[in-house]
């Protein structure tokens, strides 16, 4: 380092390119503390990023300054916006439009596999797939749940909760059977799907959903599992058939995965039970939630409409009742991420994949597959 600097000073100070490229001139200036150098610094300050400065004290100082500046700018912007809104309200004009923040989801990369609702081929394809029988209620789903070979602690607890979530599900001990043998058995006994919970280090970490008899096999990574007893104020589900909510499954693959999951549940919800099972897809993560809901009528307090009070103050004699839905979470909470979707039933060696996640596909954080 030192040798380099020496070299430069020896060679020529007029080498402008050299100076511009390298950050050390700062330090040099500080040590020399000549006026000409400090002027140079000031003019350069705007161009130099804090990360390019090697002196830590200086760097953190400049960084703090920049941060403060940004904060101030942000606050000023907010003030301006609020002022404009207030002015518009006073003048009786339309308030300026609220800006929609840019998120990763709404700046998603264009994907040609996203399904349009008017796509007739999509519906024809859906009618022809393996789940159409169950989803059109010609067949009642019957689920076999099993585990990996070694299963303890949270695994069985999770399975007992799954059994309460999925109606008509039967748990079978894995024993030492091959998965392919179990698939054969389940086919013979007219099961429509199979769920395998895989545990690693006494913690469930993968879920395999197999459509039977020839449906696809989806392999999910399971994470963020919270069991019922760990949820505060949890409810206990009844044995009614649940309602299903699927959010944001947009692409062709997403539809297929959603239909695979949907085929685990019977398709006639008992609304009396007020049970909802939600599969919410966000950035390719599928969030599972299980709720009970209740409709309540509630009076609206007048204080919450502060701004409009002086305008509408006279004509408020309407009964302020509003029905709201209250939710109570019950049952497990977990997150799934699709790793692969296999054509046919489970076959790890000779299986054909409809979709596999490959590292080369992660070209952008705004690219999603479901």
């Amino acid at each position: 380092m030192g040798a380099k600097r020496k070299k430069r000073s020896k060679g020529s100070d007029s080498d402008e390119d050299d100076e511009r490229d390298s950050p050390p001139p700062k330090k040099q200036g500080a040590s020399a503390s000549s006026d000409s150098n400090s002027i140079k610094q000031k003019s350069k300050k705007k161009e130099i990023l804090p990360s390019m400065i090697k002196n830590k004290e200086k760097r953190s100082e400049i960084h703090a300054k920049l941060k403060r500046q940004k904060k101030l700018e942000k606050r000023n912007k907010l003030k301006e916006r609020q002022a404009a809104e207030k002015r518009a309200l006073e003048l009786g004009e339309e308030p300026p439009e609220k800006k929609v923040p840019r998120t990763i989801e709404n700046t998603r990369e264009f994907d040609e596999t996203v399904c349009m609702p008017d796509d007739e081929e999509l519906f024809a394809g859906n009618d022809a797939d393996e789940f159409s029988k169950i989803l059109s209620q010609q067949q009642t789903p019957k689920i076999l749940i099993t585990t990996c070979r070694f299963n303890s602690s949270r695994g069985p607890a999770f399975i007992s909760e799954l059994l309460s979530v999925i109606p008509n599900a039967h748990y079978f001990k894995r024993g030492t059977y091959d998965l392919k043998k179990i698939v054969e058995y389940a086919k013979k006994k007219d099961f429509t799907s199979m769920v395998v919970v895989h545990t690693n280090r006494r913690e469930p970490d993968a879920l395999l959903i197999i459509g039977l008899p020839d449906g696809p096999t989806a392999h999910f990574k399971l994470s963020k599992l919270v069991l019922r007893k760990d949820i505060k104020n949890h409810g206990n589900p009844t044995s009614h058939k649940p309602e299903l909510v699927f959010n944001n499954f947009t692409t062709r693959l997403g539809h297929r995965v959603a239909r695979l999951i949907q085929s685990l549940f019977p398709q006639e919800p008992e609304f009396k039970g007020r049970r909802v099972v939600t599969f919410h897809n966000q950035r390719d993560f599928i969030f599972f939630r299980h709720h009970r809901y209740i409709f309540e009528t509630k009076e609206i307090k007048k204080t919450d409409t502060k701004g409009k009070k002086d305008e509408k103050g006279t004509n408020e004699k309407v009964p302020d009742h509003k029905t709201i839905a209250r939710l109570q979470e019950c049952g497990p909470r977990f997150t799934l991420k699709l790793i692969s979707l296999q054509h046919g039933t489970f076959d790890s060696k000779g299986g054909e994949y409809e979709w596999v996640h490959k590292p080369e596909m992660d070209t952008s954080r705004r690219r999603f597959f479901l």
């Binding site: 081929e121 394809g125 054509h343 054909e352 490959k358 080369e360």
Partner: protein, 454 residues
């Protein structure tokens, strides 16, 4: 850190391809303009899952091309690949057993050329091993049931299930293989088995992998003795029936079963696709990996087809994309999303852009060549010469001048081949550095696989 730049597709030269999917739809794709992406021009058939297309065969012929399609419900339809008109249907309920699907289908081009009345002959093979050769009269009047003139049926295998069936270029020999069935070669003149493969010996651990052939291809059109076969245990084997019954060469490719194989025109390299969507080309003389086709392909590859003239390979599969690749650079030219699981793809080589005047397809070809080859000065005229024999009217003056300079000895095809081969050799040189790295990798791969190969 993942790569954040988007790779734009270059677009492909004018061509026409037909894709066949699980719902029984036939989609016709055409790329017309210079470097345009192919678009779906026509869609034949109504979506019906029982009509999924199991096997396809096409006669590439300029006067009257024919397309045969075997459906899941056992019907075999003969269509015109130009208009999609149904010309004949054969329902197999009478003579083929219903339980097994048709896995192999071949339309014989020879018979088609000889007679004007077009009694077309086709070979079918079901998964249970019932092969039959039939000839059918195509009369435009009766579409529903065409009479079977003559048929000859025989059984290829006693047990197991056939999964691949190929007929060689001279159309005298047929190749069958499948799950539990070693590849065997049949003489189609007198319907006799002439050769049967022998399974490779047990490996060093004494483990015998069960036979399960998933795909096969003849290496050359004029040579029925050499062919490659892909197995479910991700092995690619080269057989030479004049040498031995065991594979001459065998090597592994990745970890999922080989699902598609296609040969190149030169007979030295093959294209391999597997169950997890990896595609690569191999030099079959040495078994070395030439390179992989990378392009976010995520679903099993079901079919690979080499264009008979252009340097383009098409692949399609369960991820419902049709992808077109350059054979030399192995770059993705374009990809089309076709919504259904695709099972087969076929090129229509008789397609030329006719609507656009002034020889629109000629400069395109040149451009695509420019991208591929660095030494366009030698290569371009050779292509032009070939093209000029087809449609002379389209050639512009400047090109004619060039041609007159370059082509002194007329249109001898042998000469042409020589020039092209020379160009290829020259082309390789500038990219040697980049390739050297590949070669290193290849060697590594070979070593790791070396214990398995023979």
């Amino acid at each position: 850190m993942p790569r954040t730049t988007t790779v734009d597709c270059i677009g492909c030269p004018p061509l026409r391809a037909l894709t066949f999917d699980t719902l029984g739809l036939i989609k016709v794709l055409e790329a017309r303009d210079k470097q345009g992406a192919p678009r779906v021009v026509e869609r034949w058939g109504e979506p019906d899952s029982s009509k999924g297309i199991m096997a396809v065969s096409m006669i590439q012929c300029h006067s009257n091309p024919l397309l045969a399609v075997a459906r899941k419900n056992g019907q075999i339809e003969i269509l015109s690949p130009v208009s999609g008109d149904l010309q004949a249907t054969i329902s197999s309920s009478s003579d083929l057993d219903l339980q097994s699907d048709v896995v192999g289908l071949h339309l014989f081009a020879k018979a088609n050329l000889e007679l004007s009345t077009r009694p077309c002959t086709l070979l079918t093979c079901t998964s249970k091993g019932n092969a039959s050769v039939r000839s059918i009269d195509i009369t435009d009047s009766s579409i529903e049931s065409s009479c079977l003139d003559s048929s000859k049926a025989w059984n290829v295998c006693a047990s197991g299930s056939i999964e691949c069936c190929k007929v060689d270029g001279s159309e005298k020999f047929a190749l069958f293989g499948g799950k539990g069935v070693e590849v065997n070669l049949w003489d189609l003149d007198n319907y006799s088995k002439i050769w049967n493969a022998k399974s490779p010996p047990k490996d060093s651990l004494g483990i015998f992998t069960p036979t399960w052939f998933t795909s096969a291809a003849f290496l050359r059109k004029d040579d029925h003795r050499k062919f490659v076969a892909g197995t479910n245990s991700h092995q690619i084997r080269l057989y030479d029936i004049s040498a031995q019954r065991r594979p001459v060469l065998s090597f592994d490719f990745r970890e999922t079963p080989i699902k598609a194989l296609a040969e190149d025109i030169d007979g030295n390299s093959i294209y391999v696709g597997n169950g997890s969507g990896d595609m690569a080309s191999f030099d079959i003389r040495t078994g070395k990996l030439l390179g992989c086709f990378t392009g976010k392909c995520s679903g099993s590859i079901r079919s690979i087809v080499r264009h008979p003239e252009l340097p383009v390979v098409a692949s399609c599969g369960l991820d419902s994309y049709l992808r077109l690749w350059d054979t030399k650079t192995r770059q993705l030219l374009s990809s089309v999303f076709l919504k259904q699981h695709l099972l087969h793809v076929v090129f229509d080589s008789g397609f030329t852009v006719e609507e656009i005047p002034q020889g629109a397809d000629l400069p395109c070809k040149e451009q695509s060549v420019n991208e591929i080859g660095v030494m366009q000065g030698i290569e371009a005229p050779s292509l032009k010469r070939k093209k000029s024999s087809k449609n002379k009217g389209n050639v512009t003056d400047s090109e004619r001048k060039k041609r007159s300079k370059n082509s002194k000895e007329g249109k001898k095809s042998k000469e042409m081949m020589k020039v092209r081969r020379l160009c290829q050799r020259v082309n390789r040189n500038p990219r040697k550095k980049a390739r050297a790295r590949n070669v290193k990798l290849m060697k590594k791969g070979c070593d790791s696989y070396g214990s398995n190969s023979m």
